[in-house]
Symmetry: C2
């Protein structure tokens, strides 16, 4: 327990770091706290929020957040990015990540709610300002909301594959996902709905060329069977670990997300992946021109589309390391 | 009743032509016949097939076929294309179209089955050879199968937005559609499944740019509501007119479709729409190079993606008229 623990609910037990280089193990601390919801769109007066801190106490703080299915365990789902000579070096920085707040009735939270919740966590931890806010996908949306709401608390925003508002085709496909979830839930097969909605989501995360590359062998029947098996596996694995109300709540959160780019006045790096069809580069290119502060757009080439930030650790480590080290200049917007 | 009616089951009543130019009304004749299924992949010994003939008896025959939700009433769903100085002139050509055969248990028919069924209809009608086979979407797939199976019976193939095998991303999204249909059917809400599957299909027919153009006004909440209303309307309208087993059967037919391009040896015009993500132009470009006979690829610019053949009558009338009139040369493959 460290000095700020008195402000918090009982902290979770520290867990061993899952990706230890050269035998070094940076401190990992799980905590949870009750967040008051004043100013948020929630009905509840308070929500429980879980967070994770990794790295040296007192070091500059990096907020690191991923997509709607990510959680505070950034050392697990972004393990390749954490370590000496990687993008997030826990000897030099302290990483803060959280479990997204969501609603148990499936109604949407707002990305602005997530931003306020994060600010409350920073208050509780005694952190005035974060050095960088690095968000990918939903995390980038929340990053934009945070930068707009709390300009004095953020040094620099790195928003990967996340826009200031959802693309209508992405919203359309998420509407179908949520209707699948509701159909499953109302007809007493919630896991089936979850698996199917996730399978559909996957067809939006991964680009057509990747499907073509992986499923273009054999007869039409063999290709169909392989695809069916793959989608089923992806869906069922997800259904076993994710909650339906949480999926509904966070999915709709993306479609209600809206940030006025002019209000984002901190240094901003936007990262677009050329093959991302969920958040097309053209959208982030337009956004870069509308950001209120200095903004720069980086383009990453990858076959993985919206999942590139998870599947291309080498390219992203290189890019994020350079941005965080300040080696990449900002174009003046 | 004309001379071939003795070979057929009782023909349906002729219906008035729905799109009459300058008071002229070409003869429209609906018929139905029992088709023996020898050589097909069906269990049944025979299937009932409905066809429609439009235009002057004895004129050269054009087979005109659309997508899986189209039917023999080409004068309704392709009405803008029929008439003097339009692509299909019933004074000069006789148009033949059919209702797709499908299976009542939802299992797939093969595009080769559709081709054989068409050949049986031609036999019964005393038509040895068709002047042109014009197919769009699923109709183009069946056209390729027909050209491969019955090279002596086809003068020229015009295949619009239809490949020799499905793109894996399109198959993946249809797998999800069929799982939605099954979920709805098994949980006693088949119409809900139909509506939802169709809504999903729409997000593959229409390109992202079109969604962006139509649903980019107002707040995020307003855009979400508008999209939800639109998708619901599209789905519910479709559910009211389409059969679930038929959807399953024809949907899987596309994913099992496979034609060796080398076996297509007739004059072939492939038509690709630049914004079509269901059947990407790159796929048809590659196909054009593999066709066994002379082949030419035409590119159509449109915002309507896979639906362009329904939504761009001007461009398609112009192109099809020129091809049918022989004004467009073939590149030698």
């Amino acid at each position: 327990m460290n000095s700020f623990s008195t402000q918090l609910s009982p902290a979770g037990r520290p867990r061993p770091w899952s990706s230890v280089a050269a035998g070094m193990s940076p401190p990992v601390e799980d905590g949870r706290m009750v967040v008051m919801t004043r100013g948020m769109s929630l009905d509840e007066e308070r929500v429980m929020l879980r967070y994770r801190l990794i790295g040296r106490a007192g070091a500059p703080v990096l907020i690191t957040l991923g997509g709607i299915s990510a959680d505070r365990c950034v050392d697990q789902w972004w393990s390749d990015f954490i370590g000496p000579s990687r993008a997030f070096d826990p000897d030099r920085y302290r990483l803060l990540s959280v479990d997204w707040i969501s609603r148990t009735d499936g109604r949407a939270v707002q990305t602005g709610d997530q931003a306020i919740a994060l600010a409350r966590v920073l208050d509780a931890l005694g952190i005035e300002r974060v050095h960088d806010f690095i968000g990918a996908s939903y995390g980038a949306m929340v990053g934009l909301a945070f930068a707009a709401e709390f300009p004095q608390r953020i040094g620099r925003l790195i928003a990967i594959s996340g826009p200031h508002q959802a693309h209508p085709i992405s919203t359309a496909r998420r509407i179908v996902q949520r209707e699948i979830l509701r159909l499953g839930a109302e007809r007493d097969v919630p896991e089936r709905g979850l698996a199917l909605a996730r399978a559909l989501a996957l067809t939006t995360y991964r680009p057509p060329a990747l499907f073509e590359q992986r499923f273009n062998q054999g007869s039409a029947r063999e290709r169909l069977d392989a695809l069916q098996g793959y989608l089923r596996h992806v869906g069922v694995s997800f259904a076993g670990r994710f909650d339906l109300a949480r999926y509904l709540s966070l999915s709709e959160s993306m479609d209600l997300h809206q940030v006025d780019p002019q209000r984002v006045r901190c240094l901003t790096h936007l990262v677009a992946v050329d093959s991302d069809e969920l958040v097309p580069p053209s959208q982030l290119e337009a956004l870069a021109g509308e950001i209120g502060g200095r903004a720069r757009l980086h383009r990453v080439r990858s076959v993985y589309g919206h999942d590139a930030f998870l599947k291309e650790p080498e390219a992203f480590n290189r890019l994020l390391s350079r941005i965080i080290a300040g080696e990449v200049c900002h174009a003046v917007a």
